[in-house]
């Protein structure tokens, strides 16, 4: 969202989301907005998902990490993450490995703040807690149940650019959760659950529920734009394919959405506008 729609649109979303807790005189600083944002988050999700710090907090406390991990429990067929699986993962807790993960993500945030200071500042505003948990099924993730929280599970094959792409990837999911709250994309959430309305994910390249597919499309575009504008093209990448392949996959995703019968009827105007913007970005020079 930062690269796709710009910093101001990203801030607008966070401001609208937090407006109930703005100071009477209005919001004039990162500190005031972060305070309002966290006050509001604490009313819709557990308070331990937020932080008192003005920037992202690395969680290495085992008990707190476990509490955060339990918020990711999900019985969704594609993302099966059960209490039993979390319990087994906890038994694998490995202090030195967690220390490695924390150091990598600390270095990553320094690189983000330095390489793209406004993006780094937006990350520190929108993300409260980053936690580590040795669940092997994924490299990390986000959940709409705990906006502002990122689970990270990097392994030793990750380079610093991989970890930077990971942070951009997860920040995009979180900003998109907020966008969906203040300016929804879909007419009827139940209709999205019908398999005939599934499309192909740009990241996993398999059929998924439409809202998750739209997330994947904008994550893919964010990675493409970040690489082309400032991050550079990686020689190898653990998490995302080469830019030419990722651009192809994003276009395939758009086509698969447009192949759903009467696809426009599933979206509200904001959803249609975002897809139109995505089409334009993917057709622009440098995205082939």
């Amino acid at each position: 969202v930062f690269h796709f729609r710009g910093l101001h649109r990203s801030l607008e979303t966070i401001l609208l989301f937090s407006q109930q807790y703005w100071p009477a005189a209005g919001v004039r600083s990162h500190h005031e907005l972060k305070t309002a944002y966290n006050k509001h988050l604490a009313t819709i999700q557990p308070g331990f998902t937020t932080t008192q710090l003005p920037r992202v907090e690395m969680v290495t406390d085992e008990d707190l990490a476990e509490k955060l991990a339990h918020l990711y429990e999900d019985e969704d067929d594609e993302n099966l993450l059960t209490e039993e699986m979390l319990r087994k993962a906890k038994e694998k807790h490995d202090g030195p490995e967690i220390a490695f993960q924390r150091k990598l993500l600390e270095d990553t945030l320094i690189a983000l703040r330095t390489g793209n200071p406004r993006l780094g500042a937006l990350f520190d505003l929108a993300i409260n807690r980053l936690f580590f948990f040795p669940f092997e099924a994924a490299a990390g993730g986000s959940h709409s149940r705990c906006i502002g929280v990122i689970w990270a599970n990097p392994d030793r094959s990750w380079t610093l650019p991989d970890a930077m792409e990971f942070c951009i990837h997860e920040l995009t999911h979180n900003l998109f959760f907020l966008e969906e709250m203040v300016n929804p994309l879909y007419r009827d959430f139940l209709a999205l659950q019908a398999p005939e309305n599934f499309a192909i994910s740009a990241i996993r390249r398999s059929p998924r529920r439409l809202d998750l597919v739209v997330h994947s499309l904008f994550v893919g575009i964010e990675i493409l734009l970040a690489r082309s504008r400032w991050l550079g093209q990686p020689a190898t990448s653990v998490l995302h394919p080469s830019s030419s392949k990722l651009a192809q996959d994003c276009r395939a995703t758009l086509r698969s959405i447009q192949a759903i019968p009467d696809w426009q009827s599933l979206f509200l105007p904001n959803g249609l506008a975002l897809l139109e913007e995505a089409t334009q970005v993917l057709e622009s020079a440098g995205m082939s």
């Binding site: 401001l15 703040r113 650019p161 991989d162």
Partner: protein, 68 residues
Amino acid sequence: MHDEAGNLHDEKLENRPAADVENLLDADIETVAAGLNKPQRDQAAQNQAGQLRSGGMQSRLVLLRPNS
């Protein structure tokens, strides 16, 4: 910014104090907040209340798996 091994190289990559970053967006935040009008804010508040009521936002788990 990357060498052949994919490592990031940039002489600016020093440890920027977090406090610098925290003030960086102040002017942008003030500008954007001042530009939000009442109908826009009311619509966003109404949308958000609807999303929270419907529970549609309670079920989005997005896991990242390494590139295959």
